[in-house]
């Protein structure tokens, strides 16, 4: 057991810090330009633009410690926004189950961030029970294309996406999980309608996507017909680890302390309030523990194990912690947390705090609701028979 950074790790940490500092965005330069250039520079470092990709596809082949260092450093530094859908969700499916033509056709654009993808999984009747999906894909008589009809929901950024990867139903016989097929579909075509869904904080990031008689060539099917569920399922565990956000939460906790320190009460600040101080302390303790749970998970992944049930713990704990940080921000905002005009009122962080808190309610729902995650742990880790 060893948690010290080796000399090699320390050198890597220096290298990462140097890269991030050197390539931070100059406010005077165009953001879009800087973003694409940043990924080019990261690529030139040896696959730093695709840290989680296998080396066979251009990834850097980092050790768990290096991944951990990268996550910690990028949580504090300014890095360009990135979408997980193409990069972390579709790409591994293409790498593991796609054919060479599909890999050559799609991976470079995903890597270059020149094509945006969205994820067509959930449906109005297939939320936690994703296998219940009904979007139908019917193979043509000549076997050259599928005709797709159905509705997807909670599709993040579908309104700016170029492509959608979709779980569709090609067969109704057998179990729900059999008969699901993985299709790749261009978004900008007749027959695809995107409707915005406004969430509690008033923002628009998710959508409903209606597919009507959309023709999809069989070349756009990944892997075999009816095997799509298996391809997607393994990746769900990856998605869960990604949603824990531990490093980001550690940074957020530091910000929260600063914010609370700016809230005056007589000669003291909110940080002097015993109740608030206690809550911050409990939060920090939970974060310190969860950080090590994440390291243990990374270490076992390095030894070749697939992310297993610990990924559910990370999602459970990580999202709960994110929500508590948001709640404490609302509490720090005091009366100003209710202000919802265009300009901040009172404490400058208050509106963002309320907005963040409302957005955070979704964290224990998406990517597998917490109650479902606990069922997974009960069954797969504790070996308990399915309860009702």
């Amino acid at each position: 057991m060893d948690v010290d950074l080796s000399p090699e790790d320390l050198a890597f940490q220096e290298d990462v810090r140097d890269f991030l500092a050197t390539n931070a965005h100059d406010p005077k330069s165009d953001y879009g330009q800087w973003r694409l250039n940043w990924f080019e520079l990261a690529k030139a470092k040896g696959g730093w633009d695709v840290p989680k990709w296998p080396t066979t596809f251009g990834g850097p082949g980092w050790t768990p410690t290096q991944h951990y260092i990268w996550e910690k450093e990028t949580a504090v530094a300014q890095t360009p926004w990135d979408l997980p859908f193409g990069l972390s969700m579709l790409a591994p499916v293409l790498m593991n189950y796609g054919n060479e033509e599909q890999q050559q056709r799609f991976l470079p654009d995903i890597r270059a961030r020149s094509v945006n993808w969205c994820q067509g999984y959930s449906e109005p009747n297939a939320g936690s029970d994703l296998a219940n999906l009904k979007t139908k894909a019917e193979l043509s008589e000549d076997g050259t294309y599928y005709t797709v009809n159905g509705t997807k929901i909670w599709t993040t950024l579908a309104h700016i996406a170029d492509w959608i990867f979709c779980l569709t139903r090609t067969s109704d016989t057998g179990k729900k999980q059999e008969g699901i097929t993985f299709l790749l579909i261009p978004m900008k075509q007749e027959g695809i309608e995107v409707k915005p869904i406004i969430t509690l904080g008033g923002s628009h990031s998710v959508n409903m996507v209606h597919l009507t008689d959309v023709k999809v060539p069989v070349e756009n099917r990944v892997g075999e017909e009816g095997k799509g569920w298996g391809y997607a399922k393994g990746l769900l565990a990856h998605e869960r680890t990604g949603l824990a956000g531990i490093s980001k939460s550690l940074v957020a906790l530091d910000h929260l302390r600063l914010q609370a320190g700016s809230v005056k009460r007589g000669n003291a600040t909110l940080l002097d309030d015993p109740a608030y101080k206690s809550k911050l302390a409990e939060l920090e303790i939970d974060l310190l523990a969860t950080e090590f749970t994440e390291l243990r998970s990374l270490a076992s992944a390095a030894n070749g194990a697939e992310p297993g049930p610990e990924s559910s713990i990370l999602k459970l704990k990580g999202t709960e912690i994110q929500q508590r940080i948001q709640k404490l921000t609302v509490e720090a905002g005091g009366i100003y947390s209710a202000a919802w005009g265009k300009k901040p009122v009172g404490h400058s962080f208050a509106k963002g705090g309320m907005s963040g808190y409302l957005a955070s309610r979704a964290y224990t729902i998406y990517g597998g609701a917490s109650e479902v995650q606990k069922d997974v742990v009960a069954k797969n880790v504790l070996g308990l028979k399915k309860a009702k």
Binding site: G127, D129, E331, I335, S337, I365
Partner: protein
């Protein structure tokens, strides 16, 4: 021992619930929220005609002659409808200030207009540095001629933008946090030197930041006694907390009941969500906490009706519970509605947001827990 509503209170409750059912579906509510003042002038008139605006104004002055228990009946029904009109600001906070603190001239001038709805009141007490402490007042009132000149800044004045008169807490003597030396005044929002900047609040209502720059106010507009206004301010806050708690309890009822309904309709994994024991127990927890909160609401309201400020500690207990339970019920209502719970489309999100705003007013649950503990 009797927890039944009186016949008059039952009639009042029925009348408000009817008003809400006939006029306050979610779509209507959301569109009214976009009006310039954030509510319906027509509905405000309706409230006046039905006598609601004078619920705690003495009969001799054209009111209903009721007390905090009658306000509770109205506010709980308003909470169930997410009503937008500034009843709370005017008929609860402002009215208490004028009825308890105004001289007879002021009262006979003003109260008929408050009852008729042509004059709206609001309370301006919070300041940027005050956190939740009522006694932390920097806004200054200095004696001049036959009145006072007020300079300072008040924050998050609920419905300040649509108010005609503001009840303002000022410092006339003493240090920043001295209870002694606080004086309340009634200030015309159109007086020279008053500037009101309004904005929406996250629950669809509105609030204002108000600046006073050398605003002259006549001594006749003093509410209560010079330097001795703090106890009146506390009395107003107590009435305010009771009213907000009643509104919150109404909102909580909708939240837990909507959740019970939804989980019986929604199916996943070949079961209704309501079949899952974990979710059943969660809903039982929501129900239990709601009932406990309702009990505390009755307790605090009856104690205040009976003993006034001596019931202060129970009022702290109530506000603590409302914040804690409101958050618990709201968060779990959203959780149990799954993805739909996080959208603007269902009404539960809006009830949840109202409860969050209630917790942020007059002290959040941590503040009141600390006050209760002493």
């Amino acid at each position: 021992m009797n927890f039944d509503l009186s016949e008059e209170q039952q009639l009042l409750k029925d009348s408000v619930e009817r008003f809400v059912n006939d006029n306050y579906d979610l779509d209507t509510r959301q569109s009214l929220s976009k009006n310039p003042a954030g509510f319906s002038d027509t509905y405000w008139q309706t409230m006046a005609e039905l006598g609601w605006l004078g619920v705690t104004i003495p009969e001799a002055q054209g009111g209903f002659g009721g007390n905090q228990a009658d306000t509770m009946v109205l506010m709980e029904a308003f909470g169930k409808g997410l009503v937008l009109e500034p009843f709370f600001a005017s008929a609860v906070l402002g009215t208490r200030a004028v009825v308890s603190g105004g001289n007879t001239d002021l009262q006979s001038r003003l109260l008929p207009d408050v009852v008729s709805g042509s004059c709206r009141l609001a309370l301006a007490y919070a300041e940027e540095q005050s956190r939740f402490d009522l006694e932390d007042v920097i806004t200054r009132a200095s004696a001049q001629d036959s009145g006072f000149v007020i300079t300072g800044h008040k924050s998050m004045v609920q419905h300040g933008g649509s108010a005609d008169q503001l009840v303002v807490s000022t410092r006339t003597s003493g240090g920043q946090s001295d209870e002694n030396g606080i004086t309340l005044f009634l200030v015309d929002t159109k007086a020279e030197g008053v500037s009101v900047v309004s904005f929406p609040t996250v629950d669809g209502q509105q609030a204002s930041e108000v600046t006073f720059e050398n605003v002259y106010v006549s001594a006749d507009n003093m509410l209560g006694e010079l330097d001795k206004g703090f106890t009146l301010l506390q009395d107003i806050a107590i009435d305010g907390i009771l009213a907000l708690a009643a509104e919150a309890v109404g909102a909580m009822e909708i939240l837990y009941k909507d959740t019970v309904t939804y989980t019986q309709e929604r199916e996943q994994f070949d079961h209704r969500l309501a079949d899952f024991q974990v979710l059943q127990h969660r809903m039982v927890d929501m129900f239990m906490e709601y009932e406990q909160c309702k009990s505390m609401l009755y307790r605090a309201t009856l104690e205040v009706v009976q003993n006034g400020r001596e019931a202060m500690r129970t009022v702290h207990a109530l506000k603590y519970m409302v914040g804690k339970v409101g958050t618990f019920i709201g968060e779990n209502a959203v959780q149990l509605h799954g993805g739909m719970g996080v959208t603007e489309e269902l009404r539960i999100g809006h009830y949840f947001k109202r409860l969050l705003v209630i917790d942020a007013q007059f002290g959040n649950s941590d503040h009141h827990l600390s006050c209760f503990a002493g």
